[in-house]
Subunit: 187 residues, 2 copies
Amino acid sequence: MADVSLTTRPDPHVTATRGEQAGPAAEPSWDLIELLFFAYRDFVGDPDEVLAKLGFGRAHHRVLHFVNRNPGIKVADLLDVLKITKQSLGRVLKQLIDDGYVAQREGEHDRRQRLLYVTPAGEALAMQLAGLQTARISRVLGELGPGGREVVRRFLAGMIDAGDRDRVLRMVARADRTRPRRRDGAP
Amino acid sequence: MADVSLTTRPDPHVTATRGEQAGPAAEPSWDLIELLFFAYRDFVGDPDEVLAKLGFGRAHHRVLHFVNRNPGIKVADLLDVLKITKQSLGRVLKQLIDDGYVAQREGEHDRRQRLLYVTPAGEALAMQLAGLQTARISRVLGELGPGGREVVRRFLAGMIDAGDRDRVLRMVARADRTRPRRRDGAP
DNA sequence: CCATTATGTCAGCATTATTGACATATTTCG
DNA sequence: CGAAATATGTCAATAATGCTGACATAATGG
């Protein structure tokens, strides 16, 4: 049974890849639809296990992740990224704060703002979770060979709604620069 | 602002792709982690809208999808694929049956079994939803150029837990053969 | 006949999301 | 200055989707 189709094969239904024209949809991409479902489920599965032991869920992960990646982010911007309501965010954010994984600080220019930062414990947890997901990704990219990473990146970026894509890519790029060197004014 | 990084660029943190060795996790793949999050959200977003108008949710989509792809599937096997409990499945399955999207039939050899099939309405809905997702996928694959599809496919397959991978790939391959020609004994 | 299997169902609970309404503090602007 | 707008927090109710545990029914199979 080993290793079916993890290697390249002719792939009968590559009918022509039919790029642009969104005609009457020849034949659904069943394989990619299903693989994406299973891949994403397992991709978030590893963090889920760790979080469950702390009494947290997937929602906590998302909040912790984006706060870690965007130190000093405003609550309003976080809501924008996550596309949830502030009531939904409030609950999980309160738990993360109460448990000492996230801290708030007043904005310097605008004291209404509660800028969000991860605590050292929060950063450690965020890095642990990201490490699990990165391990999975790295293993696969290693199997793909050179160039694979860029193809995957372009595929995922292209799958994002056009209206959001640039904002997301800007955020990814910005945070790429922000994280590496320990940011200045962390609490 | 347009089109950042949808084109290939040097990509600073490609540190060596560090394939196999799962050492102390050098630097997280922040970009792919986040892109996967946003890509999956939008990938399921299109069907979500259609389903909401019918009073259905994502859970209904998954059930309808796998029944459509695996006509005559046993309840137990569906539970295995979805990895949920029969109580959770029962709720959404009952709605799909009551609303005429899924039908049950007794197994021929084993009359305890309730084999699941989509009705014509169910097939139409499943195809509509798959069409939306396929349109998104096809557009991106068209932008990736030849070879992109296979890289993406291998990436997604590789992201699946090793223990499940073969089973999933076998299912994908089997259904690839099952669907195309109208199956024999559908209700 | 009896143990097992396949399925369904009742009851209760948790997580994560929603909407609507309102409260508080602060900034901004006329 | 004072009113309007903004940023955030919170209360209450509801929905979707998952869970556990317990039990019921029907059919299979030794």
